[in-house]
């Protein structure tokens, strides 16, 4: 019982928070993949730049909350510019070019950040430091806030995709991008805005997690690999699948780390992926169609 309360519950909570952040990243990847046909290798760098944008804003204003608003805007604008300048000319080309292009972008972003801010580990202090007793344990308030904030965020995204016209159009286009042409919408603008939105979400995840983790230029690389696993597990192109798989991986990651060292955790998660691929080659929610 003590073990349950003192060890397992906090770790579960941590896993949920981590899963939600992964979900934000994987959702962005899935939507961009469905819409533009590009698997965005630079997505992890957008996550990383969210944290650095936060560091800059906090340095100037001293306010974490202001950073939470400003960082997604900054990274979102950067995403929009990047999309319009580099991805737009590739719409009609083979997907392999998009893959290679975003790999190049990832290098530029990551090394650019390293040049400006250096390669050191940095920390962002949580905006509040208290803790709250809950279920016989005390939890840091910031972690509870994280859980609340990420739940609200995921709920808001869900509402956006099911209740708003813009959301419904994007969701339909993820399934079948060609239908956009028939709707009379401004396709390039939809693409750019969607890319900006996914960049903003990634940066928000980066900044929210920064007080719990550390901030360094490579932080995006580690996340993107997990996010790729999540996208594959969820079933390529399935938005709901991405979120479910994100929580599975988030929980697995934090529970495994109770019993294993980090590299064993990485290999164990990889093992999960292989087992799922053998049992369900299309992932949790992959759609039918031999030649999809």
């Amino acid at each position: 019982m003590d073990y349950l309360v003192a060890v397992l519950l906090p770790q579960l909570l941590h896993g949920l928070v981590f899963g939600a952040a992964l979900g934000l990243l994987a959702l962005g990847l899935t939507v961009i993949f469905g819409l533009l046909g590009v698997m965005n290798f630079a997505h992890g760098e957008l996550y990383m730049m969210g944290a650095y944008a936060g560091i800059v804003v906090i340095g100037v204003t001293g306010s974490f909350w202001l950073a939470l608003v400003a960082a997604p805007v900054i990274v979102g604008v950067l995403g929009a510019i990047t999309e319009a300048a580099t991805l737009r000319p590739l719409y009609r080309r083979e997907p392999l070019y998009g893959l290679i292009l975003t790999f190049g972008l990832a290098l530029v972003f990551r090394e650019g950040v390293r040049q400006i801010w250096g390669g050191d580990m940095r920390r962002i202090l949580p905006p509040f430091t208290g803790s709250t007793p809950l279920l016989g344990m005390t939890y840091p308030d910031y972690r509870l806030f994280l859980l609340g904030a990420s739940s609200v965020l995921l709920l808001a995204i869900w509402l956006f995709f099911t209740k708003t016209r813009a959301g419904i159009i994007v969701r339909a286009a993820v399934q079948d991008a060609e239908m956009l042409d028939g709707l009379g919408v401004n396709v390039p603008r939809v693409f750019t805005l969607t890319f900006a939105g996914s960049a903003a979400l990634a940066s928000l995840a980066g900044l929210l997690l920064a007080p719990v983790f550390t901030v360094y230029p490579q932080m995006g690389v580690e996340m993107i690999l997990l996010a790729f696993i999540v996208v594959i597990l969820g079933g390529m192109g399935s938005m709901g699948g991405s979120v479910v798989a994100a929580f599975v991986i988030g929980l697995a990651q934090s529970l495994f780390s109770l019993w294993m060292n980090p590299q064993r955790v990485a290999i164990a998660i990889f093992g999960i992926m292989i087992v799922v691929l053998i049992v369900r080659p299309r992932g949790f929610f992959g759609r039918e169609g031999v030649l999809e």
Binding site: M39, L90, L107, V108, E111, I232, Q263
Partner: protein, 316 residues
Amino acid sequence: MSRVFGWRSAVAFAALAALPWLPGVPKYYLLLAFDALLFGAIAMSLDLLIGYTGLVSFGHAAFYGLGAYATAILLERGILSLWACLGFAIVVVGLYAAVVSYFATARRGIYFALLTLIFAEVVFTFFRYTQTFGGSDGIQGLPDALVFPGVAIDTPARKYYLVWVYLLLAYAVCRVLVTSHFGRVLVAIRENEDRARFLGYNVQKYKMLACMISALLTGLGGAIYPIRAAFATPDLMLWTESGEFIISVMIGGLGTLVGPIIGGVFFTLLRDKVSSYVDWYFIVIGVVLVVIVLFLPKGLLGLRRALGFGRWRATA
């Protein structure tokens, strides 16, 4: 055989063979030439997948690194025969490549890139944290390998000839493949995978075979690296290494054999110059990659052809 080797490639290989005989070539440049030709040969092997079959592997560093570790492990234990090292590398890389290619070709397109990357990261993590294989330091201070008992590969010139032979063999293999029926089917798969299936081709089998061949050639390249460098480290398996192979292919041009060799050589020389003067080397590389994709999607050879020096042919 004339179909495999035109007179131009014969002249090129003869010129490369003469390099160590040129007066006043410093040892350093012979070793740089080793790296350049090794990189070129691996880029060419990778282009079998990217340019011919339309599959982007982000995990070639794992094949390369596994080959290097295979040699390093034997040399470290006093098994100095070159042939033993190469044989061991073929077995290790072959087993790993069989598993990777099976899973990665089960689904289409992007999926291949993601799975090769994820598999490679697992291999990297394994070697990076396994102390038996030296952890993050890798295996250092290896002795020279022996071609035959008593004949050590100890001078820069001998090391250079090792890579020369490797390049020659790899080129011959690739050349036979792309001019064969097999190569023609690979191009058809790149062009239109669905249609190839409806014409009776088992596409996954072809893709797996292409992936295995490319992986084995890359693994052999990895296996000769510790003979020149006297070490194998986990950094050889890092995903940026896979990225550098892709960059070499892109610089030289997709769907050709000579292009990626030139691309690999060019890239190695660029890295040698840029990384010693400029510490934002990766930014330069990233920008080069973006510019090539946007403006020169067929690479430097494509540029030459776009200017009117012969038509771009996908099949040769």
